[in-house]
Symmetry: C2
Subunit: 324 residues, 2 copies
């Protein structure tokens, strides 16, 4: 029986899924990424996870037709390299694809950017099923984004497509982790939301978030969204600004790429309606008439599993019997 | 002998090209768009131009396998409608495609957005030849944009893709013709450049542009670029800002779509190196490493003919003998 494996390589966890020939999930695992032990240890962790899932499912490693890996940061899909990975200190132009292939006794392996893989998973098996194009935006520490056009991952000419977090929305505005100013990320990410909130506190504003005894350093985006839901004026203001900028991000996506559906995922979507209701309102106010009427905004259906599922589909596309 | 016609329907002129089977240009024409005489007159003008070119080239109308039309404004390519056309008062959901087909005795006709058609012309026969993807930015009264991905026009789910002029680059900034604020268009278009220059004059700044006797109303972007080249401080400042915003537009395009090449066209490219040299500098300062190294910025090779050539190729793609 043919099988496929999908790996979501994160700075915190390595998630792995094993899939049947028809892409039903057989088993999955998660372990802490031992990034401090270096590149070869991380490759070993991925290989061990695949072998362990095979054993648990009674699948011979030789029956695994292919492995897909979603890796953070810019990747070189042709060469199978992770170019730079922000949460993997010192990782630069590392041959993740070929190293894993060797560690798995020559099992065919394909490498993709993690945001692209998650978008593809959602497109094939989640809320994007049945559409022709999709953009998925991950709202977390940063802003990730993957794009699927006409059923295929859109990597762009230099594997740079989908860097929504670094489109300029406010020239000369807040500093971004990328070294520039005014990118979407410092406005609409969870980290950016916390930072704007702290800046407001530092300027003398008050909020129930800290009146409840929470130290400024410990504040999370969740605390701010909760305080906003409880009527805290400052928290509401900050959340409202986050959502308005996120609407700009959706609008930029529609104005350039114009996908059928924009899917949101990442830690910040735990805010649910507090995020989605105003986002629907602000985004549709901005959209031109045709996308205003038909472009769908939705929350992920696959959640944290989108990455392993998308990576599994990438493996099937590349190495399945019907692969072109 | 099979032939194809390509039409560039503009608010000022109707340009038409007649092409041989292998897309060599046989003849071309241009006439003033009699938009004031209404929809049927404009359809008649397009049909008359095609017939006239056929006669002049000794091509029977029956040998014209297909006609492509590039139309301004949002178009519905499926239904063949011009949805709204800013320079055609009252044009709304008009069946341009089917009306022209009837006026040409049933000749197969295909409708596309004008910016998309021009981008496709440049991709097939201009500076974009040999690449897989291209974005073309038209700098004129507004900012037009067409995108080609993997060799095909990228229309998007709602025919809205490529609205680069209306991505937000400065939230809450200058008003845009679309009714919103902070779009790229009021910063980087020729009209926006003139408006920012006039605003600076109104605020008390001085410039050789008006000291030479030119009235404020008569100032064009060309005058401002020329004054900048001649060392006028205010003109230089305004031009510099235009180019910086245009660099942001290129960067947004790279960050979302990541094409092989970005081509500039439109009236403002007459400024030549005064535009391209600082644009190269500012854009590459913004780009991420891989596009910084490889994404090409270039001026159009086809100029004002990109539209008719692209429309001709659209006709060939849709109705040629080898059409899929």
């Amino acid at each position: 029986m043919a099988a496929y494996a999908g790996i979501d390589l994160g700075g915190t966890n390595i998630k792995v899924g094993l899939f049947s020939q028809d892409m039903a999930i057989l088993d999955q695992s998660s372990c802490r990424t031992e990034v401090e032990k270096g590149f070869h240890r991380v490759i070993g962790q991925m290989a061990d996870s695949v072998r362990m899932l095979c054993e648990r499912s009674g699948v011979a490693l030789g029956d695994v037709r292919g492995v897909g890996i979603g890796c953070p940061g810019p990747v070189d899909t042709q060469a199978g390299l992770v170019v730079v990975a922000p949460n993997f200190p010192g990782w630069r132009d590392l041959p993740v694809r070929d190293a894993l292939r060797r560690a798995l006794g020559g099992t065919p392996t394909v490498l993709e950017n993690d945001a692209n893989v998650a978008a593809y998973g959602e497109f094939r098996a989640g809320v994007g099923r049945g559409y022709r194009s999709l953009a998925m935006i991950t709202l977390g520490t940063g802003i990730g984004c993957g794009i699927v056009i006409d059923g295929r991952i859109h990597r762009g000419a230099t594997d740079t497509a989908g860097e929504l977090g670094h489109v300029t929305v406010h020239w000369g505005g807040r500093p971004c982790g990328c070294g520039r100013r005014g990118c979407l990320e410092p406005y609409a990410s969870a980290t950016g939301t916390v930072r704007r909130f702290r800046d407001a506190l530092a300027s003398g504003r008050s909020s129930i978030v800290t009146e409840n005894g929470l130290s400024e350093e410990a504040i999370t985006a969740k605390d701010i969204f909760e305080a906003a839901a409880n009527g805290d004026a400052l928290a509401w203001e900050i959340v409202d600004e986050t959502v308005r900028y996120l609407a700009i991000g959706c609008d930029v996506m529609v104005n350039l790429v114009d996908p059928d559906i924009i899917v949101l995922t990442g830690g910040m979507i735990a805010a649910g309606d507090l995020l989605m209701k105003p986002l629907e309102k602000y985004a549709r106010e901005m959209f031109f008439p045709r996308p205003k009427a038909s472009t769908r905004l939705a929350l992920t259906a696959l959640g944290g599993d989108a990455g392993i599922i998308g990576a599994g589909f990438c493996a099937q596309d590349s190495f399945g019997t019907s692969a072109s």
